[in-house]
Amino acid sequence: GESVGLHLPTLSVQEGDNSIINCAYSNSASDYFIWYKQESGKGPQFIIDIRSNMDKRQGQRVTVLLNKTVKHLSLQIAATQPGDSAVYFCAESSSQSNFGNEKLTFGTGTRLTIIP
């Protein structure tokens, strides 16, 4: 089946630096992508999403980049803060699959640690 994966399971970044978390996906029909943040003891929190008709989308201190040619997704966090320490994971879906974009496929996550 299709899978979504991450290049690195852990990432440590100095406070104030920028961080980049990567995600590879294998389904060429994927057309909707989401990044989630999960803090310890909490459920996943929606950060930002992007549709396949876009290459880049910006939020507050976050940017998602989509490269459909190589099926790669990245999340950039600017000026990282201690509160950014969490597990981040991507998810994707395809409107062409059964139940369309309702069914997300999740990556296993990258643990981001911000070093004070």
Binding site: G43, P44, G107
Partner: protein
């Protein structure tokens, strides 16, 4: 803000018991989902519902059933709990844009129920 509330944060049950996990959302979302989250396996979809009394199997429905009698509430039922069902259970909801066939909208999650089956 979307609020998805799961009735219990921690739950301990015994093998063979019938277990009910409850989830309520306050944003009038059409879609609701139940996942389990296990280390190294990520989130796996158990069931989802796109309308009242409607349900669809996810990737791992065996040993589970669901109930959606009201739009805001989605229940996960472990018919006869087993130790391999010890896990973190997460509920989520999303809405369907008017006129759209599929939601193409992010799912919003509750904080999970950590269930231990002894």
């Amino acid at each position: 803000d979307v609020k998805v509330t799961q009735s219990s944060r921690y739950l301990v049950k015994r093998t063979g018991e019938k277990v009910f996990l409850e989830c309520v959302q306050d944003m009038d979302h059409e879609n609701m989902f139940w996942y389990r989250q296990d280390p190294g396996l990520g989130l796996r979809l158990i069931y989802f519902s796109y309308d009242v009394k409607m349900k669809e199997k996810g990737d791992i429905p065996e040993g589970y059933s669901v109930s959606r009698e009201k739009k805001e509430r989605f229940s996960l039922i472990l018919e006869s709990a087993s130790t391999n069902q010890t896990s973190m259970y997460l509920c989520a909801s999303s809405f369907v844009a008017q006129g759209a066939i599929y939601s193409n909208q992010p799912q919003h999650f509750g904080d999970g129920t950590r269930l231990s089956i002894l």
